[in-house]
């Protein structure tokens, strides 16, 4: 096999992985860290993409500013959703089931809202100026925009990890998954914390959607398509582990890249096969969350 081609595929896989990671990062934060499952994560991805479209193509804003605005917009929308609806079901028996149901209803509602606001035509935005070409690195052609995505993926991974493991805020966020009531007696405003985390997670989703918009078509229903892949990434890496999700995304990306090149016929099944294999051999994902004796 041509080693140059292997390198090329590996690079493709890595780009793919970074977008996967960016999309999944918000879900990891919610599902893995604070133990809230947001089925509608993909819908915020979609909102981010549409907001970016509006900012860039309709309002004529600068692309990078639009990215930030789209992320913020999705985040604010997420915080509203959380504080108006989701908050009401915390602490109920069978909460997890209700989270699924409630956030599923968000998917349905947001789908139609998007249709009402933006119509059903496909939208798309161009890559930002200066990022439409490609550069050669070690003989491999890499689109500059993909490099930007890789950089952003790395930044998000490092930032999230630092934030979660090194700051009080991160520790508090993780503790909400364990015992919200106890935490509140320690002076932590738990509802606010959850709203903020939800906001950050949906902002990450929105940011990912905005970032992916120049590479994809922005269409209704775009949300449902990313949710399964995100779930795979989150679980593959081990719940709530940012580096795990990072690695999970890379594995998924690379396996896909090489499957496309060498077993093209079955490439579309590989995500599931990888997950089955990993989970059967490492039942808690690649990075196991800390094992703890039941007190």
């Amino acid at each position: 096999m041509d080693p140059q081609f292997l390198l090329i595929q590996a690079t493709s896989g890595f780009t793919m992985a970074m977008i996967l990671f960016l999309v999944a990062s918000g879900l990891t934060l919610l599902f893995g860290v604070v133990n809230v499952f947001n089925f509608a994560h993909g819908s915020f991805y979609m909102i981010g993409a549409y907001l970016a479209y509006t900012c860039v193509s309709v309002l004529g804003f600068n692309f990078w500013a639009s990215l930030v605005l789209a992320g913020l917009g999705a985040g604010v929308f997420g915080m509203l959703m959380e504080s108006i609806f989701l908050r009401r079901i915390y602490g109920r028996a069978e909460e997890a089931g209700f989270q699924i149901l409630l956030t599923y209803s968000f998917i349905l509602i947001i789908d139609d809202l998007v249709k009402l606001v933006w119509g059903t035509e496909y939208k798309s935005i161009s890559r930002p100026p200066g990022f439409s070409g490609a550069v050669e690195l070690f003989g491999v052609l890499v689109p500059t925009y993909n490099l930007a995505i890789i950089a952003l993926g790395l930044i998000v991974a490092v930032a999230a990890w630092l934030l979660l493991s090194r700051t009080r805020a991160g520790r508090i966020a993780r503790a909400t998954a364990i015992d919200r009531e106890m935490l509140s007696t320690l002076g932590v405003n738990v509802p606010l914390t959850l709203t903020v985390v939800f906001g950050v997670a949906t902002a990450l989703g929105g940011l990912a959607g905005a970032l992916a918009a120049p590479l994809r078509s922005v269409t209704p229903g775009a949300g449902i398509e990313v949710i399964i892949d995100s779930l795979i990434v989150v679980v593959l890496g081990g719940m709530g582990n940012f580096w795990g999700a990072f690695l999970g995304a890379i594995i998924l990306g690379e396996v896909n890249a090489f499957a496309v090149a060498f077993v093209a016929d079955w490439a579309s099944l590989f995500s599931f096969i990888v997950m089955i294999v990993v989970l059967i051999f490492k039942p808690q994902g690649l990075f196991s969350p800390a094992k703890v004796r039941k007190a």
Partner: protein
Amino acid sequence: MDFKREFKTLVPALVGFLFFAVLPAVRTSDYQLTIASNTIIWALFAMSFNMLFGMTGMLSFGQALYFGLGGYFVGLLVCHLGAGWFVPAVFLGVLGAGALSLIVGPMVLRLTGVYFTILTLAFAQLGWGIVVKWYDFTNGDDGIQGIIPPGVLGNKVTYYYFCFFLVSLSLWLLWRISLSPFGLILRCVRQNPDRVRFLGRRVKRNQLRIYVLSSMFTALAGALMAGVDNSVSTEMWHWTTSGEVILMCILGGIGQFYGPFAGAVLMILIEDMVGARTEMWSMVIGIIMLVMVLAFPKGVVGEFANLAARLTKKSGGMEVGLGTNTRS
């Protein structure tokens, strides 16, 4: 006391049974028959799923695997070997699902919690992928059409009664299971698996048993569905199908034996009525769901039971749920 409790759960069952039994006679259009067939079949799917989720606490996101398998056994056998194979195919599908779940079960049961959920999802999606890909054999996402039950079963009313009989029988079985020592052990597995081990019982073994049983009933539902629609499609295998059955259960009330039944009825009626009236069905259904979740946290049946309990002012009224008594 024991008996009184059971009796209470029998009343709604009898009412439901009678309603669906006489429906063909009192219906005003054939379509109502179609809806009724759909409802009872999905109810079977939902209630067998509830044996896993509500009763044993195993949230499988991959029951579509068995629903699809049941449907495709019928579809493929009828398509390749002829309509005469319809009835045998239904039962072969059930056996096939039993066999498959015996293989998949031990693998997914190695995991617990979300990992279990996601692994079941992965297996089901793999099944879906294979069915879509294996075009020559399965017809891919074109699906299989022309699945006409043979002989008298070709008549809609007879076919309805055929389904009605099998569904009633299955539900009766599920009900008996929920009352039986086996059912009791399953509920205990959900609440406190460690302690079950300390009763000298094997947790995984019991989980596997109900996984297999539930999958077989699910396959039966899938097989019967093929005869109602006269066609099967890859949609049956898709994760959205697994999702739908979960939603039905939650909507109806997870902790309630009849919850999933009510959930199935509601979901199908809502989908039908809303879908017929507005292209914005998605938002309308979304809002209905949102309101249900916020206002009726115990599901339709649970809330109804609560109301009944409050009216009769007897604490015993709380115990209507037989499958599982969720904590208040």
